[in-house]
């Protein structure tokens, strides 16, 4: 495989891998109220940076799906839209977290098995 196409492929797979994780991270982070910019900063501070152009539309979509609620409120003399997890979102988050933990445990086992075989 050509290096360029290999890079393109790995980029595309990396994005695919991140896509589902980002939703989980956003939902989890919005257990505490945030507006777009502070949410992005909070996620980045914990090592998960998201492009603005990805995050802001994602918030809208999750709100349309009923997983988030939002309200316009004045803060520092400016109107900002604050997002928070809805009750439906909290239930979905719980399910997603259980799924995530399951996948995470399985992957750990699979990856450890591979590492042990390699050592041998």
């Amino acid at each position: 495989m050509q290096p360029t196409s290999q890079n393109e492929l790995s980029d595309s797979l990396r994005l695919e891998l991140r896509r589902g994780c980002l939703i989980l991270a956003v939902l989890a982070q919005l257990r505490v109220e945030h507006y777009g910019y502070t949410l992005r900063k909070a996620l980045a501070d914990q090592g998960l940076s998201i492009e603005e152009s990805t995050l802001y539309p994602l918030l809208r979509r999750l709100e349309t799906q009923g997983l988030l609620t939002s309200e316009w409120r004045e803060e520092e003399k400016r109107n900002k839209r604050f997002y928070r997890l809805s009750s439906e979102g909290a239930a979905v988050l719980e399910l997603l977290m259980a799924e995530w933990n399951g996948i995470n445990d399985s992957l750990h086992r699979i990856l450890e098995e591979k590492a042990v075989k390699k050592e041998r």
């Binding site: 507006y35 777009g36 910019y37 603005e52 152009s53 990805t54 802001y56 539309p57 809208r60 109107n79």
Partner: protein, 333 residues
Amino acid sequence: MDLLERYLQSVGEYLPARSKADTLAELRENLLAEMESREEELGRALTENETAEVLEKHGRPVLVAARYLPQQHLIGPAWFPIYWFALKKSFPFVVLIYVATQCIAWFSQAEKGVDLGALVGRFPGIILTFWAVLTLGFACFEYAEGRYFHRVDLSKGWNPNELPKLEPAQGRQPSLVNRVANAVMAAVGIVWLLALPYMLLGPRLGYLRQMPFTLTPDWHIVYWQMIFLLAVQLVLKTVMVFLHTARGWYNALEVIVQVSGLVILVIMLRMRTYLVPGTTPAAMSLKDVTGLNALIHLGFQIALVVAVVKLLWDLWKMVTGSRTSQKGFVTVL
């Protein structure tokens, strides 16, 4: 901030009217917060170029706006494989129906002429129309699904026991494209043979008169025998397009088609004299025409041998294939 307003105006051009103001207000706040954060880091106001950098990083207006729109597609991933399958499977039938309608039109028209250019030229339009109608049908179905009737769950409602039986390793049936192509070629053959006398005795009469040889009167009898046998072949091949699942019947029809082909060759061989010298000054001598007739006769003899060998080979494959099917099957990938 003029640049930010221009950016928001550009994004707004691609947003739907009902959510435009709300989306742009939120976007403005987020971008302003981003810029203020940069200003705090630098300890001064952003220059025009630095503002442009923030906006450039945020993305091209049309793409940013597109991310705020609901996911749009004509045919979604759930139905696309079915759509693609339908498109592929129905294509040979479109060809068959087109050829059939053109044949019927040719038979019903008063002046028997074949404009091959127009026949081929019309075909892309037919294909495009078919593609557009099928795509629109699927798009309408997908739009209505979930809105006007319950979603169809494609993962359910199928029975593994209804899967087609394993095909024997030998004697696999020809593909749909192959079967339709056979029928189309038979139709084209008949139309060509029917058009030929019209062309030779009609618009191309002058060309026939200049030939150094001419056809023997036997052709008048043989011609209709050939037309009859080719018509039989066309009917059988059309039936075979739809009969592929009934293996025994399909094989039987295949043998009949091949035998009818042999009969045509035998008729041609029995003629022996195909051409006679023409009446023009440049006509061939009798000796030359006799040589030419011998060559044509030899050609038909070779064709007959090849056809007989092929028939025997196919019969052998059918017999051994049926034996294999009694012993067991092999998955054909």
